[in-house]
């Protein structure tokens, strides 16, 4: 049971990581026009989210009992 609770809280990681990456990108890309800046941030958010979600799956595999 505790492993399922752990996984519920681990699911926060993809959202947290991708949001931090997106906010950092927004600060770095100040020279771009707002729409281009937004598109760049959204693309990087998606990439970071996908990478962190795959890491979430790997974590589930590591703690698997099957």
């Amino acid at each position: 049971m505790y492993k399922h609770v752990l996984l519920v809280f681990l699911s926060l990681v993809p959202f947290g990581v991708s949001t931090v990456v997106a906010l950092a990108t927004w600060e770095v890309l100040q020279a771009l026009a707002p729409v281009s800046r937004l598109i760049a941030v959204v693309v990087l958010w998606i990439v970071a989210f996908a990478a962190a979600t795959l890491a979430f799956w790997k974590a589930a595999e590591v703690i698997t009992p099957w």
């Binding site: 609770v5 519920v8 699911s11 959202f15 937004l38 979600t53």
Partner: protein, 315 residues
Amino acid sequence: MLAALSSYSIARYQSGKFASLGISGIDVHKPSRPVTAEMGGLAVLFGLAVGSAVFLFAAFPQDGSSLSFIAGASTVGLVGAVGIADDLFDIKQRYKPFMIVAATVPLMFFLLGRGSIYIPVIGYIDVWLLYPLVAVPLAVTTSANFTNMLAGFNGLEAGMAVISLGTLSFLSDVTGYPTVAMLGAILTVAYFGLLILNWYPARIFPGDTGTLTAGAAVVVIALLSKLEFVAVILSIPAAMDFTLKAVRRRPFGGRKIHGDAVVESDGTLKPAEYPTLVHAFMKVSPIKERGLVLSILAMQALFALIAVIVTLGFL
């Protein structure tokens, strides 16, 4: 109250009638594999119609916000109609997004004058016509399909809809959109009416009518009350499931190759060998269907809590 009652009554009628009419599916996550009525989302649409009619007759808003209610309810209803067509005629996956985009026209028309998007920390960003013409249909289609994919367990889809729509209704109200909040509240209680019969062991499944409608409803309420980021936060569990299925050598082909999770004689679910969100929960420790659904609903509730904290923090 009336919406919940109508939704529950219709779902109850459907659960007895639809299985004999052949509008049914096999509950593959039970050892006995019972045949269960499908298309419970129809009851939600009925609840939406009754609730909307009563609200508009009894308390027609005089400040022009009634138009937002009608645009939102129309879009949700039209997406529901796409779901009905899908449940009855099994529409090909490649046509569905276009049909959902067509269903968003009332909302696109209503939001034609809006040209900026709000993101907490960053602030307002002007995107002009990209908002109504690109962001609105894209968001509704994406959310509807996300919700349609993270499904298949008793109480999961209806439970997630109740949590998401309940949260959005509350936040719409506190951010100054009471009419939109009322639309959200009607949908929340309509899904609650369905959830009573969809909860383990289910007497009816929501079907594509229920899942597509839920995904569209979340985005519609969020867009109408300028809470786009809340819709993103509430979609995270479904987005994680989508990502796990999509980022593969054969995107979305896992089920075709490996099949469904296997149910053991004691009801424990053994995951199929491909990544999905529900399989992650099945992998870490033995779990039965009810426990799995409660885990995913806890995850959804956690993201709902984050959405509330972020929204109230940036009010």
